[in-house]
Symmetry: C3
Subunit: 523 residues, 3 copies
């Protein structure tokens, strides 16, 4: 469970996974197939593809070096804005020495802004979305147009005049040749709009991405189609854009908004689909307003309306006193289907109870040493568990030499009940391990399981031998001391393992639970 | 005390009251006479009046449907920006199909922004004022001028060129004919400035509104006059505006600012009146600066300077370590006179003590089920009381079937002393009711009254039979456990009734106390 | 220890010190020599010098009158933006009646914005820097260019066209004559860039300021040179500015940024110097972008890039989970050398321990009545101590008449261990003083010293006679009750004295400790 001596191969695999996540999370997914398809599509414009890949790798390295949270880096949440920036850079500018310099500088700015905005907005329960990319790319566009000469050579950018003809490289023309294939206008427009999310205007690219999205989630795909249809229909009726809505705004500011709100941030339902339609006129108004606002500097609005509408509506819905039937996703599974399944499952299992509001199973401030799906032992069926340790300000878990359990800050500290319940199981007899050794025979060590509700149990493991203060059948209240933190079982150094589960057994699988959500917020 | 089965008539009355509050709160009042006069004046331009009324009703319905706090909705705090938007819409644009569509869209945006900004700013003790209206109306104006065709037909707007002649409907001309009546120039300017707050330029409208304000509060009216005089005098001396200050800025950005800071947010006093004068040069500077800033898009600044100055000064004054003689209003009575009375009354009664900093009378997180003036039983003399319950995440107060007191989350939970004091009265013998029944004979049920200071008592009621841990004469410290939450007296289901009062009796009237202020902040 | 009856002379000295601090803090220093040199240089343009001095004095008076924290006012943190505003005003505009009026108005705005922004940003661990000056000066420039006639007569401003020839007064020409002295171009550019920080373009002014900075800190001076060299080198290579980088941006947005991040906010080290270089390309990008952005209003960008880069990087670095080798300064000594010494000293003394995370030595909310270096008795060797009292909402420390210790809110309240440790010394026999009298013979009164780590002790003093709950040799845990707050020793009224020290004796010198940092944040 310690991260020391992690072999190079493991590190490489983790890096590749982080890279893939950075791609797939652009579509609110962690699906590797979608990630690979997006990576491939980005290379339809080779310079854009390279720049995007470089920015992603550089960002991951920078984040690692500067000592940010490993599990958040791993999720791609801090690096997908850099991919958008790199692809945007490659789509807007020709390659030269200045291209390299300013791409590096802009990527650094994007990483800093992503980490900062993500943290600030997370405190309000909001995502940063592509806002960091938008802001940094504006900076680049502004600076490139000024007296300060960045020596960036602009391509003829289709974003600035949306529907103009665009000069492309040969390879790119190969793919866009498919734009001439005999498909109905609106079908071609749909795929071109999907491709716009990666700054392209290509039916073929759109088809590839659509396949990836469809594999990842039928709900997401249906919402893309819903957003597309609603936007086109409204324009047909109201003629907001007399020449038709541009494919970039269609893809980025209409369809993505429907997809984000209709099935990712809200639990999929009839109401969430209605929300996906209701945001279309809002998107029209804001797209129009921001276009005029930024025209003072000839800046494209990029995905600003998408960011504003998604954040704004989430904030508004978060402030409701009674959530009613339009539920927001509490614990994010990065898949509309999984979110829906978890919600329905939770509804059924907990019927009248709703989610219990869990407390942390300890006093004071601990660190998550191994988060959901993040580490080595918390995999697959046991993926929704948390390991906690106490660290000093340098991030160290022990004082002195760390050679005995008592050197570890968390050792001997009280472990608490995370909610009211009845004690189900107590294991209390297993020896604590010397530091560095693990007891794989009695994997969980001393463990207490508490029943909080029918089908809802919490488990704390690796407790200190003989420290249990409760016995099976005891009623416990939230915050009651259960035992002391120890080093028994598969535990090379003292830490607390915590998980929620649906069955009362010590070896039960974990259960996704919105607990993590609250932790993330305070991070 | 339960809100179930509320009759339709009751609901209608509550809705009408909420509607009137939305109008009167534009002038920081909850006075129904003023509300009716404002509603009437808004119809001097019938389209503006209809649009304002529609936006208000639509906002109230939207807020109710989306499940926001009933008491805040009722106060009009979430809906008055929609009225301004509606009136602005009707004053700027001709009626057509597009008018309806974008009015609905803009109203939705306004409601979302109002709820969000109100919450964000309330955490810093600041009001949102008319900022949501200003921002959304800018969006509409921007979008209407762009390539995206909203198909809104602009009237000749007097706001954009302030003093130009304006085309009006017949009815409107009838009223504005009164502009020609032989009154001194500055008197007519005063009334025109007052009418500008509802987007008009009419002496008659100004007279009607002024009468309403005068009825509501002599202090408010005197501050409008003070702001008017100061602004005109300064311009006469410094010639900031060589042709004279426009009536719109005079009304909205000078007189309203003086009124808000001089008597509503600050306790009325000589110093608060001086503050009402001191903000005039600030208003000149900011009005000038924002006009140039927004001229890049030919946007009117609307009430932006008013919003910035009021919020900025409140924030600055809030940060003082020693409030000194310029006191801010802690608990808002929506009337300068009432605020002053409460302050003087509190000063006298509590002399050297100042306000006690009250704690909540329980541990953990409870909900206010019935707020100040908000419900059925907390009326008139008992209007300043709070009922608390514990809810789960779905807003339900009980688990299982809710048929026995023990099913309710708050039942049996400890009730605490909200501050240090001496126990005055203990009632401990009354039976707990079965769910759904009330004991109107012993209205308050088991009750404890504590004396915190001469003339300052707190009372907790509906406690569990036999649960009192204190007896008369006991010294209690803030946070000491007094008893357990129960279901005795006029209580159909377990909850905690809490109030502050000036006399030691169980049946005492309630007393307004800034306690609510802290609660609101954390809302 | 009470502040009553402070003699006029004392008050005058405090005021002069506050004034000097306001000047020196522009260069992140509290050095009086530097302050006097900056004050002198500001008078090279007499109108600018006078306006700066007036704004500083007016701000200090305004802050005192409005009841803000005395120790923060004293540090100059709330008033240096006003100096920049005054100097900017005097450098941009000719003197007339309007000059006086709008300088006063703008200074009030600057003070309000400084206090507000400082507080808001401090909650995120960030400084406000010169942002308030930048914003208010923009407001003045905007308003002066609009229809609203401020009657300000602009000088030919060198800021707007950076390198144009500037008309100056006679005295100023005397000094700028030195610009023609035969020094290498880049040496002259360096000094001109330094002088730009006070809105000048004078080699001589730059030399004087440089001497002051060199006296204050060799590290700061070396970072100015590093920033200058890096910026010039990068421009020589990349030709961002074909005609060379202007001296204003060089000084304000490049050299100051290097100085702030390379040695003041980060602990000086090889890595911090590399950071000082790494920000140069970022500064190029942002300077270019903001110039184009603000060109829509012909506004100069002033020090905006500096503010954004410093705040942005600090926020990003603050969010790291593992600080690594680039350490930020936890407790600010206003000198890179002192910050470095403290850090190395702490490193050595606490070796593996890192900083202990101290808790406050009491429960609930107390006030700091005398902060670090802020008062009368906490001077020189005992400068890093804190006095705590409890106040009511009016800032009063006592109820009733305050004639007996028991009237004071903090009297008899428990005093806690700020961290785990072993009790070293207990003094428990000294009588409590009557109110207003002090016992200078037994200066510290009843006192407990705790050993937390080799070379790290905490001391609490003026405890109540006979209240000690611990004896030498006792192990204590963080939060354990040590004794009760009293009024023994040199204590005219009950309060708690708390300090960290490196030796176990009751009379030990204090030690700077990042404790204060956390307190500031919550202030």
């Amino acid at each position: 469970i310690t991260h020391r001596n992690k072999p190079v191969k493991k590190q490489t695999l983790l890096f590749i996974q982080a890279l893939l996540n950075s791609y797939s999370i652009v579509f609110f997914s962690q699906d590797n197939v979608l990630a690979v398809l997006l990576l491939a599509v980005s290379f339809f414009d080779p310079l854009a593809g390279c720049a995007g890949l470089f920015s992603a790798c550089f960002s991951l390295a920078l984040l690692k070096l500067s000592g940010h949270r490993a599990d958040t880096i791993q999720s791609g949440l801090y690096s997908f804005n850099s991919i958008l920036l790199g692809i945007g850079f490659g789509s807007f500018y020709h390659f030269n020495a200045a291209f390299c310099l300013w791409l590096v500088v802009a990527t650094i700015l994007t990483v800093m802004l992503t980490v900062s905005l993500t943290t600030i907005l997370a405190k309000r329960g909001l995502p940063a979305l592509s806002l960091p990319f938008v802001i940094v790319f504006w900076m680049v566009l502004l600076a490139a147009n000024g007296y300060a000469q960045l020596h960036l050579l602009p391509k003829e950018s289709y974003l600035l005049n949306e529907l103009s003809t665009v000069e492309h490289t040969n390879q790119y023309q190969l793919f866009t040749a498919l734009n001439t294939i005999p498909l109905p206008f609106y079908v071609k427009l749909f795929f071109r709009a999907v491709s716009a999310i990666l700054f392209q205007d290509s039916v073929f690219a759109g088809i590839v991405i659509s396949v990836g999205v469809f594999i990842h989630s039928r709900i997401s795909f249906s919402l893309l189609a819903l957003g597309f249809t609603s936007a086109c229909l409204l324009n047909a009726v109201v003629h907001v854009y007399p020449d038709g809505l541009g494919h970039y705004h269609l893809g980025v500011n209409f369809m993505m908004t429907s997809m984000a709100l209709g099935g990712f941030f809200a639990v999929p339902s009839l109401r969430s689909y209605l929300l996906g339609i209701a945001i279309i006129p809002l998107a029209y108004l804001l797209t129009g307003a921001f276009t005029v606002l930024l025209d003072a500097w000839h800046l494209p609005i990029l995905s600003l309306p998408f960011c504003i509408i998604v954040s704004g509506i989430l904030y508004f819905l978060n402030l409701r006193q009674q959530p009613g039937k339009l539920q927001l996703v509490a614990y994010q599974n990065y898949s509309p289907e999984a979110n829906l399944y978890q919600y329905l499952n939770g509804q059924e299992r907990l019927h009248n109870l709703g989610y219990l509001n869990l407390s942390l199973p300890f006093m004071g401030s601990w660190m998550v040493s191994q988060g959901y799906e993040g580490g080595i032992t918390h995999k697959a069926e046991w993926g929704q568990a948390l390991d906690f340790v106490i660290t000093n300000e340098d991030g160290q878990t022990y004082k002195y030499t760390g050679e005995v359990p008592a050197d570890f800050y968390c050792y001997n500290k009280p472990v608490l009940a995370c909610a009211d319940g009845v004690v189900e199981t107590v294991v209390n007899h297993i020896d604590d391990n010397p530091i560095g050794e693990v007891n794989t025979r009695e994997n969980w060590g001393n463990t207490i399981v508490i029943n909080h509700a029918p089908g809802l149990y919490s488990k704390v493991s690796h407790l200190k031998q003989g420290s249990a203060k409760v016995k099976p059948g005891d009623m416990v209240k939230r915050g009651d001391i259960l035992a002391l933190c120890g080093n028994s079982g598969r535990s090379p150094e003292p830490h607390l393992h915590f998980q929620m589960q649906a069955t009362p057994y010590v070896g039960s699988k974990t259960m996704a639970y919105p607990f993590a959500y609250y932790l993330q917020d305070t991070g």
